[in-house]
């Protein structure tokens, strides 16, 4: 039951439009920093472009996908008209307004601070206010998801909350809380300085606030992907979810342990002591647990589909999988990239290993593989799966869809593997260009060129994706039937309260954040003389 299709389509279309623009910027950046495009080098334009790319890809695009998908889940999983449609549109328009407000100063070169803000570098105040509006718009969605679940619970007392909605609401709570770190940094520290009310800022404290957001935000980006793994893939390939409760446990674990670990981004920072770095490192190990559980459950669910299709033997069933089904293809690609990216993440997690690759191109490679690769390829899959239900028309270009997914996978590998390699060699990230004439840097030229080629493969894939969806809007009408989520092998008749509600876990998430962040933040905030003069971007 998808009633508010226009609302959902608006979110997806805006998401994919800004994604397309940011993707083109990304490819351009990789081209001009490579030896083949060196004559175009202009650092100023490069960092503008990088700020726009990061801001869109980090904040606007995944947030809109999560919101659009969230509304679709709420209506179709709960079988209930969306409550608060006007508020939902208000949230959408806030995001539009915020994005426009942020992008103007970026385009004018007045906010080239990249998406992680980097105080005491301070950009134009409208950039930051724009980002805040985007976040506020998304918080409306968080509230609506919670309200809709509450309305449903009232009508269905004690019934198990459908898995997709349970996970969706967990993801929205995770986002609400993780965004608080950057919100505090923006509201308490950066915006007063950007508006000219203050002239100094504690850069160390700002980095700690931002780390609160910066790690868990990745798990917010990941939520739609994991929801698709559990609740779309098994249905789309004719299987069943191996275990409904394991799925719930995974989402709960993300909610609880994704938050209090962000300080592993500050391993090399002087403003955080060794003790909290160690604690955050240990907690980071924990967050691998839900992913390990998910890999198992999804592989088992896929195996069920294969055996139902006549697959036999220890590994023979793999051949019986519907490999021509785009959903199967996307899942396989996503898992491969998640595997490589996850292995890289385990290296980043360890203080000792991190030292050799901290802030190098390795990190860029790592998160592009996880976010741009494993996560975004499932966003594509979600859109393909939902489109017929949103448009009332059939997506007929199956071959084109497969090609698009293949291109994305290949493009991601070609882009990120060389980045990992030059990262190990110590190539710093966020450089507008390199002096490939320097004999010490010359050997990296080939890797940088390969990455640039990967960037154009990705761009080609992205364009195909948008074309496929646009053509889908004009295809012949066809009734796709009600939108459904995968059933579990043992569909639960009852679920323990702990696996059916979020309260306990939200409380735990907040408590763990406060213990893991409270003391470092308080000591930094209370220490005197650590504020430094702001450096305004573009000021002479």
């Amino acid at each position: 039951m998808l009633v508010n299709r226009k609302l959902i389509l608006a979110h997806f279309w805006l998401a994919f439009a800004v994604f397309g623009i940011a993707l083109a910027l990304g490819a351009w950046q990789m081209f001009i920093r490579s030896p083949i495009g060196i004559w175009l080098s202009n650092p100023e334009l490069y960092y503008r472009s990088l700020t726009a790319h990061g801001t869109v890809m980090g904040y606007v695009f995944p947030t809109l996908v999560a919101m659009g998908f969230g509304y679709a889940i709420s209506e179709s999983a709960l079988q209930q008209r969306l409550v608060g449609v006007r508020w939902a549109w208000a949230g959408f328009w806030l995001i539009v307004a915020g994005s426009v407000m942020a992008v103007i100063p970026i385009a004018l070169g007045r906010a080239s601070v990249l998406y992680t803000f980097y105080p005491p570098l301070i950009g134009n105040v409208f950039y930051y206010v724009g980002v805040v509006l985007v976040v506020v718009g998304s918080w409306i969605w968080v509230a609506l998801m919670s309200v809709n679940l509450r309305v449903w619970r009232k009508a269905n007392p004690g019934a198990p909350v459908p898995l997709a909605m349970f996970a969706n609401v967990a993801g929205s709570y995770l986002w609400a809380w993780t965004a608080v770190g950057a919100a505090l940094e923006l509201l308490l520290q950066i915006i007063p300085v950007a508006a000219g009310l203050k002239s100094t800022i504690d850069a160390g404290l700002a980095r700690v606030f931002f780390s609160w957001t910066l790690h868990a935000i990745v798990y917010f980006w990941l939520m739609p992907t994991y929801i698709a793994y559990y609740t779309i893939v098994p249905r789309a390939i004719g299987g069943r979810v191996y275990s409904d409760s394991m799925a719930r446990i995974s989402f709960i674990l993300f909610l609880v342990v994704a938050m209090p670990i962000g300080m592993h981004h500050t391993f090399a920072d002087p403003q955080v002591g060794a003790g909290f770095k160690f604690i955050h490192s240990a907690f980071t190990a924990l967050v691998a647990l839900p992913t390990l559980l998910t890999v198992f459950t999804i592989c088992a669910s896929v195996e069920i589909a294969a055996r139902l299709r006549g697959g036999r033997g220890m590994f023979g069933w793999i051949r019986a999988l519907p490999w021509d089904n785009p959903m199967m293809l996307a899942l396989a690609f996503s898992f491969v990239m998640l595997g490589f990216g996850g292995a890289g993440g385990l290296i980043n997690m360890s203080y000792q290993l991190d030292a050799s690759i901290h802030n190098t191109q390795w990190i860029t490679g790592h998160f592009h593989l996880i976010f741009g690769g494993a996560i975004v390829i499932m966003y594509f899959a979600i859109a393909y799966d939902l489109w017929p239900h949103l448009t009332g028309r059939e997506l007929i270009d199956l071959r084109l869809i497969r090609t698009q997914l293949w291109l994305w996978f290949v493009g991601m590998i070609v882009t990120t593997f060389p980045w990992h390699w030059v990262g190990i060699l110590g190539m710093p990230r966020r450089m507008a260009y390199f002096d490939f004439g320097d004999p010490a840097i010359a050997p990296q030229a080939l890797s940088v060129t390969l990455s640039a080629i990967g960037g154009f493969i990705l761009l080609a894939s992205g364009i195909m994706f948008i074309v496929i969806l646009a053509r889908g809007m004009r295809a012949p009408q066809a009734d796709a039937g009600p939108y459904q989520f995968a059933l579990a092998v043992h569909q639960p008749a009852t679920v323990p309260v702990a696996l059916n509600t979020h309260g306990l876990w939200v409380a735990l998430m907040i408590a763990l954040t406060l213990t893991n962040y409270g003391y470092p933040i308080l000591t930094l905030a209370l220490s005197e003389g650590t504020s430094v003069p702001a450096v305004y971007v573009g000021a002479q």
Partner: protein, 187 residues
Amino acid sequence: MSAEETHGSAEVAARVERRWATIAVIIIVMMALLAAFAGIHRATMPQPRVETIDPSRLHLSGEFVESNLGSVLEANGNVTVRAIGQQYSFTPACILVPNDTPITLRATSADVVHGILIQGTNVNTMLVPGYISEQPMRFAKAGDYLMPCQEFCSFGHEGMWGKVKVIDKTEFAGRAKGGGRLSCVGQ
């Protein structure tokens, strides 16, 4: 499927699941133990103390005045290197150090956030204005290393490349005899 079979398969599923969860937990505990072991046994832990400094007064007095930057041979035979990062260079731009000697790098930033990374080594630290970064280092072989700024520090970031020159320890001791600060700027 009869009710009994359903029940049986649910039990099998739960058992397999529990086993996998146990394996996953063991993997993670092993990783954490390994990290703890490497940290404690090899003493590679992050900087323990948080030290602050006023970046607007660096040039006026204290540890990071211009005349105190560069490498100095301490009485115990160790070497201390002091350096500053600012848009868009390091001071000194070329750091001179001996091989096979325990070295302490102490550095800070005069304006925005920078980073020091010495290519081909594990030396990698952030320079956050207002705070002092301390990093132990040791170079096995003599040679030249590139030392880029690894953190975005505005439009000139890509031009911020320092150098490290590692020379033989006896040669370094000879040069350090006068007790002054050494660097390889201009060499």
